[in-house]
Amino acid sequence: MTRRPLLGRLRAWHLAAGAALLAVLAAGSLFVGVGDLTPAGLLHGRPEDLRVLVESRLPRLLAVVLAGTAMSVAGLVMMHITGNRFVSPSTAGTSESASFGVLLATLLAGGEAVFVKMAVAVAFALLGTFFFMWILRRLTFRDMILVPLVGIMFGGVIGAATTFLAYRADLLQSLGAWTSGDFSGVLRGRYELLWIAGAVTVLGYLYADRFTVAGMGRSFAVNLGVRYDRVVNTGLVLTGVITAVVVVTVGEIPFVSLIVPNLVTLALGDNLRHALPATALAGALFVLLCDVAGRVVRFPYEIPVSTVVGVVGSVVFLGLLLRGRRTGLR
């Protein structure tokens, strides 16, 4: 008997069901929090409730969905253009480089200039990623595990430099804001940059087929008339921008860009035309679930989303690694 892929072909109704689930969860999440907000209050048009919704809950929901979607898609694209399913913005030094950029911008331009911070973070995220790719091209081994390990080490070095600099400049406390992602500070007017990440994600969908072809490797890509280097660079810029924007607005969220695309492609295969929308949806769902869990577990206090994701993510990642070892890491 032929063994079929886990879910077989992705059908429109799979995505629709996922979207419906996300909608229900999203609506529910609006009523989780310390501030007074109830469905009844909203129905009666209580101004207090409306204010909480518009100023805090809705922005937070949008931020969660945008960040989850964008980070997951960034990871998916990166694993294709590097040909390694464990290479993602969090294992290639991209996030750490972005954090370093935010710190430098804060040191040089003060804490207020958001656009300056973002621009510098994007620049450093790209610099870090391209440097990692430069290392990658010079590595003689292509081991599925060793390559991301090199990326993690590279990220560790940059993270250490960032911490050192922050310590000397007495900015360790602010540093925590970018290195541990948290949605609790999201208010209207403080998350809108994430729409940029959302827009870049949509652009990524337009490139889906070319990313898949690039994932086949250089020879196949050239044979099919795809400009391999250009597609790879486009993908790197896309991941760099998304990562930097997320780091600047809510901080680093570990593992999302690694485990969500891995789980989705495990079920659906690597054809991005199908896998990309599913990854976007799954990323939003995953981060939303983690954020709500963080809000509920110690109510009325909050656990940062990066902590919740870290706990869940490390377990899933370990599972993926062990599974990879069993199936010969193809």
Binding site: T2, G83, A208, V213, N223, L224, V226
Partner: protein, 252 residues
């Protein structure tokens, strides 16, 4: 017509392909034979723009492969290398359908789907069409790759060791299919082949390479002689005529 003019490719100090000039007329099947390291694969890579040449030019119907836009070439020339490791998990059907990418981008027309189905059927991949490539055997995967390249439906098809991993029956089927592409559709097939008898039975022209140079070329009858083969392989090879085919015997 493929015109190779004075092409050189060096790795370090060694010229793997050393000033090769060769013209391959349109139509027919051309086999490139030679010992390991003779430069066959490198020459094929240069011709198909996968590897840049260090010197010389290659034109395909007048288009310089080094400067013609990749997508334009991809509609005229298809290539499959020998070592194909693919880390992306695609189903056989998805892979074969990507052969239509140069023609229709991501949006396949009804005609595209027909070509995809036809290629899948011909290579007996129907039962495997929805399986992922990493669930196939080496030979099945090779058939899927070739199906994709043929689905590209180009005038020129360049194949490096298309019989890799294939059993006898699938090898013969593959060669018949390539033969039919030349005879019925006027395609030009150029391939690197290790088995001289497959080359003898299915090609019109044989090109022999040794140490980076073309040392002989001719019709199959001209090339399948003990003298030529001995010079190419440094091995005593008897040539017998069996059923109207020239067969080289070199096993003992």
């Amino acid at each position: 017509m493929i015109e190779i003019k004075d092409v050189t490719k060096r790795y370090g100090d060694t010229a793997v392909v050393d000033g090769v000039s060769l013209t391959i007329a349109p139509g027919g099947v051309t086999s490139i034979i030679g010992a390991n390291g003779a430069g066959k694969s490198t020459l094929l890579s240069v011709v198909s723009r996968l590897t840049p040449a260090d010197g010389g030019t290659v034109t395909v119907d007048g288009m310089d492969v080094a400067t013609t836009p990749g997508d334009r070439l991809a509609r005229r020339l298809a290539v499959l290398r020998q070592d194909n490791h693919m880390s992306v998990r695609l189903t056989v059907r998805e892979l074969v359908a990507f052969g239509r990418f140069p023609h229709s981008g991501g949006r396949l027309t009804a005609a595209d789907h027909e070509l995809v189905d036809e290629a899948i059927d011909y290579f007996e991949l129907g039962d495997l069409a929805d399986r992922h490539l990493d669930q196939l055997s080496g030979g099945q995967r090779q058939r899927a790759y070739v199906a994709m390249v043929l689905c590209q439906d180009t005038d020129y098809v360049l194949l490096d060791e298309p019989l890799n991993n294939l059993d006898m029956r699938h090898s013969v089927q593959m060669m018949r299919r390539l033969r039919r592409m030349a005879d019925d559709y006027g395609k030009t097939v150029v391939m690197v082949v290790h088995d001289i008898n497959f080359a003898s039975c299915h090609s019109d022209t044989i090109v022999a390479m040794k140490r980076g140079s073309v040392i002989a070329r001719g019709t199959t009858a001209e090339m399948m002689t003990p003298e030529v083969l001995n010079a190419v392989y440094d091995l005593d090879i008897d040539v017998h005529e069996i059923g109207g085919r020239r067969i080289g015997v070199y096993f003992s």
